[in-house]
């Protein structure tokens, strides 16, 4: 276990070394936050209580979206391109030789990354947003840890999806296509552009049941106090269920792929 703690710490420090990139990223998040905030204000002016949110809840949604954009890798990114590249060049063979589990290794590294992005890329835009706009901040202290747990589960689901995408590189010649599709799906189904509550009818129901809703929609609703008591437990079970299912599929693909590398040489 201590190995994976060192890996996670490395994941954290690795991103922490790029200070300028972090500053530029915070700036971008903030600009996007403002653009989306004014768009949402206009929208909620016309249709108050859209999706069951009042204006200040909608604005909270916007700024949490910016705060979690990198943390939960809503549009992908983080480690897949690196892993895909290792698979493509055959460097993956070196990883296999180590006495460590591939999936746990990358999960630990990604959790380290997410922790950095939450602090480095999430806190600043959120604070700025809260200063400028009237956000719906939690009334109870306990909402904060409840929210963080939901974010954590969301990051694990996000990792599990991206790990599947990366694993596809063992079979597809070019991992870029899969990564682009995953990015589009993430953009749309995480609720980054519009809350999934706004999606009408069947589309909305499907979108809310897909794993991507664990990344943003669920944590935001926890933050806004929409899930409490058993509702909160259900939300966690939903997230953890997807996490386990997707991690399981990833593990299966990893086993098949490893066998192939060991026989075919990648």
């Amino acid at each position: 276990m201590r190995l994976y703690a060192v890996v996670a710490a490395g994941g954290f420090r690795r991103y922490a070394t790029y200070r300028t990139a972090t500053a530029a990223g915070v700036f971008t998040n903030t600009v996007f936050g403002f653009i989306m905030a004014y768009t949402y204000i206009a929208l909620w002016d016309v249709r108050p209580q859209l999706g069951g949110y009042d204006t200040s809840q909608a604005l909270t949604y916007v700024w949490l979206g910016q705060a979690l954009l990198m943390t939960s890798a809503l549009m992908g990114g983080g480690f897949e391109s690196e892993l895909v590249e290792r698979i493509r060049t055959g460097d993956i063979a070196v990883d296999l030789y180590r006495p460590a589990d591939l999936q746990l290794w990358w999960l630990a590294a990604d959790l380290g990354r997410a922790a950095f992005h939450l602090l480095g890329r999430g806190v600043a835009p959120m604070c700025l947003g809260a200063l400028v706009f009237d956000l719906a901040l939690p009334g109870s202290f306990w909402t904060w840890p409840a929210f963080l747990l939901s974010v954590f589960l969301g990051v694990v689901v996000s990792f599990a999806i991206r790990y599947l995408v990366a694993m596809s590189a063992f079979w597809l010649l070019d991992g870029a296509g899969a990564m682009q599709m995953a990015m589009l799906a993430g953009l749309f189904f995480s609720g980054m552009l519009l809350p999934l509550n706004l999606f009408p009818g069947l589309l909305g129901e499907v979108a809310r049941a897909l794993p991507w809703s664990s990344l943003l929609q669920v944590p935001v609703d926890v933050f806004l106090g929409k899930h409490t008591g058993w509702g909160l437990v259900e939300a966690y079970v939903f997230q953890a269920g997807w996490a386990l299912a997707l991690l399981g599929v990833g593990r299966l693909l990893q086993t098949v792929a490893t066998r192939r590398v060991v026989v075919q040489g990648g």
């Binding site: 703690a5 060192v6 030789y97 040489g265």
Partner: protein, 328 residues
Amino acid sequence: MADDGFISLDGVEKVFEVRRRAGLLRRERREVRAVDGISFRVARGEMVGYIGPNGAGKSTTIKMLTGILTPSGGRLRVAGIDPSRERTRLAHRIGVVFGQRTTLWWDLPLRDSYRLMHRMYRIPDRRYRENLERCVELLDLGELLEVPVRQLSLGQRMRGDIAAALLHDPEVLYLDEPTIGLDVISKAKVRQFLKELNAERGTTVLLTTHDLTDIEQLCSRVMVIDHGRLMYDGSLAGLHEVGESERMLVVDLESELPPIRLDSADGGDQPALRAVKVEGPRQWLAFPAAASAAPLVARIAADYPLVDLSVREPDIEAVIARMYESTP
């Protein structure tokens, strides 16, 4: 067990199946016999060079020895373990350095990668500190520990990789092309370190290279592989004999002269050397690799207006080419 060897291969094969598009829909299947029935034994504490031209099957052999590739045939054991079946168990007892691939953490200081090894191999704290200290000293890594790996030169990175492979006290170290692309100083440092490692710790070392100088300076035993087959297994001197290999004397004379001729010193009818090429005042003179260069140089200097000279060692391709010629 005693005569079984620490590393033992018996008729080991690796056949890759390569699929290639041939035309629109048709796919062609082709077999590549990367390793084609190799047998050898390496005793504990030996230092063996494994040489051969590009594509000979060196890396494939190393990968099978680490367990990241399963042999298609034959029997392979390292320390009594079947590598591909018990890769993880074996990993604690061996160290590997792949010249063109790094196991180090690209974006982080070298020291972080070592911390990782500490945990990954569950090295006792004291052991870890001692080994790290020793590697840092002998491989001259002191100044580099806090430098991110991506900023290291190839030679520095290679030294860093070698240290990473040794922190858990492996009984055997495989090195796949450890000196490829390295500058002269780094090459010398790496060679010196490996020599000491083998002499002081008794670590078994198997290194692949296509640089004969590596072998000359490090290994008493050399195995030559080509097209997946073992062509030679023995001493380096013996290799030159078998390959009838020649060294090359390149001389610069004061002026353009006809090709230099030296009769055999002991009166035989074989000339002591033969001119292979003449280009203006520069001449290339081949002589048997086993012969000493000094008396030849003295005789040339006595008879010809010699300005400059250098001796070139035979390269592995030439040795192997001549080996084929001599064993039809």
